[in-house]
């Protein structure tokens, strides 16, 4: 019995004081109590301080009694009273501690309910846990389902939060995550599972974060000073961990829901945007298609002794091919006609506009130039000036005098034209210059000439005809074209045009049409049919 404990007991506990007085009186001895007013213990009156002995074991003053056998009995009573008081206090402290924990759990769940963010839930959990478990370090780590690695979402202290790349099953914390069982390690340095030897931690307490049977992470507290963590503390930590895990799972679910909603909004906006762009493009293509349709001659001019037909089929809604047949002012040998098949670079509206420009240029220049080659050079220059650099037109231009069958031609970078003699001989009439509008300056164009004899056929076309592909990537080619025309003796030009298109479709099969296809067929009637 210490004098301090005795002093405290006698000062605070009225009943104890009264009991001591009663006992002293019964024993017939005098007891002096420190700080107690006279009258409480009447037996002390008249006793001098020198006659008293201290009753506490350490000899310090709190209660004194005249040295006597009764003093021994009094000491025994005081011993008992102090022991009981100490017991009562210990119990009270323990109960209060339990109450503190209950209160913590209560207020923790209230605070958690307001949080929908994983990091904040983790931080709050550590903050609350620190109130009841002494630690220098703490950490909440979450388990990645795919990599099986633990990663820190909240922490305090110098050591624990710095841990990186712990795999489930690895080290002490990894073991807690793998087994889903909390642990107290009061001597970390001696634990064989310790993976970081340089880590300056002495004691550690850790609990898994579980949702149902599933471990989603761990919470750990540790001390750089030796500590003795208790089973009671682990129980409390587990209780908090359980609440935290549920809150984290809820927060994740909420985050996922929000993300999904945001993503849905984004996709919807994208879709609307694409829909708008598509509608605009469709309008544009339709417009281009209308422009283009108006550029083709409504019907081909009729030439006595000749049969002329042409057809165009664009690859997309709007293509870049063009054909024309224009009656020119009469020359030395009577009427003349200009035949043209052209291929404009690009697709869609820009190509349609370029084609329109090409047609306007060509028609404006007709009859104003001395020769076909001069016409081509001037058209090229005008197109170059009026368009951007990467736009150009390849064209086959034929000027025919029907009466004689004499033809002059310019091919501005265009594919060969086919002259098929009555006897079946095929002549390729090749390029005589660069595409129109490709390069500046008056590049001279070569001019070719040929005579279309009775029974001969002239076939102008765009590269879409020989380059039409089948599913194997083979090209239709010029030979197939020539063969079809050759075999169609006696048929009208329109029929021949139709046959070529059919043959191309047969050849291509399911393969999509990549390029525009344009074909113009001019047949001179055989000699016996000439009127």
């Amino acid at each position: 019995m210490s004098s301090a404990a005795l002093r405290q007991l006698l000062r605070r506990h009225k009943e104890s004081r009264e009991l001591v007085a009663l006992f002293a009186e019964a024993l017939g001895g005098a007891v002096a109590l420190e700080g107690v007013q006279s009258g409480v213990l009447p037996a002390t009156v008249g006793i001098t301080a020198e006659a008293l002995v201290p009753l506490a074991a350490d000899g310090a003053g709190a209660a004194w009694m005249a040295d006597s056998p009764q003093a021994t009995a009094m000491t025994a009573l005081l011993d008992h009273l102090v022991a009981r008081d100490v017991e009562r206090k210990a119990l009270g402290a323990e109960v209060l501690n339990l109450y503190r924990e209950v209160n913590l759990i209560y207020s923790f769940s209230e605070k958690l309910a307001a949080l929908l963010d994983v990091e904040r839930v983790a931080a709050l959990t550590l903050q609350e846990t620190r109130h009841v478990i002494v630690a220098t370090d703490g950490v909440v780590m979450l388990l990645d389902d795919t990599t099986n690695a633990l990663s820190t979402v909240a922490g305090f202290g110098d050591v624990l939060p710095g841990l990186r790349g712990i795999q489930s099953g690895e080290g002490i914390l990894g073991t807690v995550a793998l087994k889903g069982i909390g642990e107290i390690v009061n001597d970390v340095q001696a634990d064989l599972r310790r993976i970081r030897r340089d880590m300056d931690l002495r004691s550690l307490i850790a609990s898994p974060l579980t949702v149902g049977e599933r471990v989603i992470g761990i919470i750990a507290l540790a001390s750089t000073q030796p500590m003795v963590y208790s089973a009671g503390e682990l129980k409390l930590l587990s209780t908090l961990a359980l609440q935290a895990a549920t809150a984290i799972e809820n927060a994740r679910l909420f985050e996922r829901t929000v993300q999904a909603a945001v993503e849905r909004e984004r996709l919807l906006a994208l879709h609307q945007h694409a829909e708008l762009a598509r509608a605009r493009l469709e309008n544009e293509l339709e417009l281009a298609s209308r422009i283009q349709a108006e550029l083709f001659p409504a019907e081909m001019p009729r030439l006595a002794g000749y049969d002329l037909a042409a057809r165009n089929r664009p690859a997309r809604q709007c293509g870049g091919d063009y054909y024309d047949a224009v009656i020119l002012p009469p020359g030395d040998h009577g009427a003349r006609v200009l035949l043209c098949v052209a291929d404009v670079s690009g697709k869609g509206l820009p190509a349609a506009l370029l084609m329109s420009s090409m047609q306007a240029t060509l028609r404006a220049l007709l009859g104003r130039t001395s020769s076909l080659s001069a016409l081509a050079a001037l058209a090229s220059e005008l197109l170059f000036a009026s368009t951007s650099g990467n736009k150009y037109v390849t064209a086959a231009l034929f000027e025919l005098t029907p009466a004689t069958g004499a033809a002059r031609y310019v091919s501005a970078g265009h594919v060969d034209s086919l002259l098929l003699r009555r006897g079946g001989e095929a002549l390729a009439l090749g390029s005589t210059g660069t595409p129109l509008g490709l390069i500046p300056g008056g590049m001279p164009y070569g001019e070719g000439s040929a005579v279309l004899a009775p029974g001969d056929s002239l076939v102008l076309y765009s590269d879409g005809v020989p380059e039409a592909q089948n599913a194997e990537g083979e090209e239709f080619g010029e030979d197939r074209l020539a063969e079809i025309v050759r075999r169609s003796v006696g048929e009208s030009s329109a029929t021949i045009v139709g046959r070529v298109f059919e043959a191309i479709d047969m050849f291509a099969g399911a393969a999509p049409q990549f390029d525009d296809i344009t074909l113009l067929v001019l047949q001179r009637a055989p000699p016996n049919l000439v009127p």
Binding site: Q8, R12, V95, L96, Y99, R100, N103, Y106, S107
Partner: protein, 125 residues
């Protein structure tokens, strides 16, 4: 004259918990007195005129509101600091608390540290 704190609650474990929470103040000369119902509280108020009262609201017969009203009213103890204790989750009539002259209210379960801090502040310790 010693300063005194009166603890009034009809539940024994709460009296004990509040007593235990405040026990360290005894070393600083504060006397802790307990009462188990409204009538006892009135008697203790009369006899001791404590500096601070922790007063449970939900008590049979004489409620905490009644005790507070009488203390601050007819007993003229406007300088006694009265803290009403209400159970969390239970409806608490704040306006009634204000009307009967209570100085503040705390909810149960209480935070021991907050309760002790408040007592120290009221007593100027």
């Amino acid at each position: 004259v010693n300063r005194q704190i009166l603890i009034v609650d009809d539940e024994a474990h709460l009296r004990m918990l509040i007593h235990q929470t405040l026990e360290e103040l005894e070393d600083e000369g504060v006397e802790l007195v307990t009462a188990t119902n409204g009538e006892e509280a009135i008697e203790a108020l009369q006899a001791r005129k404590p500096d601070l009262v922790f007063l449970d609201v939900m008590m049979p017969k004489l409620s905490g509101f009644d005790v507070c009203e009488r203390a601050k009213g007819s007993m003229g103890m406007s300088d006694v600091y009265i803290i009403l204790l209400t159970a969390k989750g239970q409806e608490f009539d704040r306006q009634r608390g204000v009307d009967v002259g209570a100085d503040m209210y705390m909810t149960k379960p209480f935070d021991p540290d907050a309760l002790l801090m408040k007592a120290r502040a009221v007593l100027g310790l």
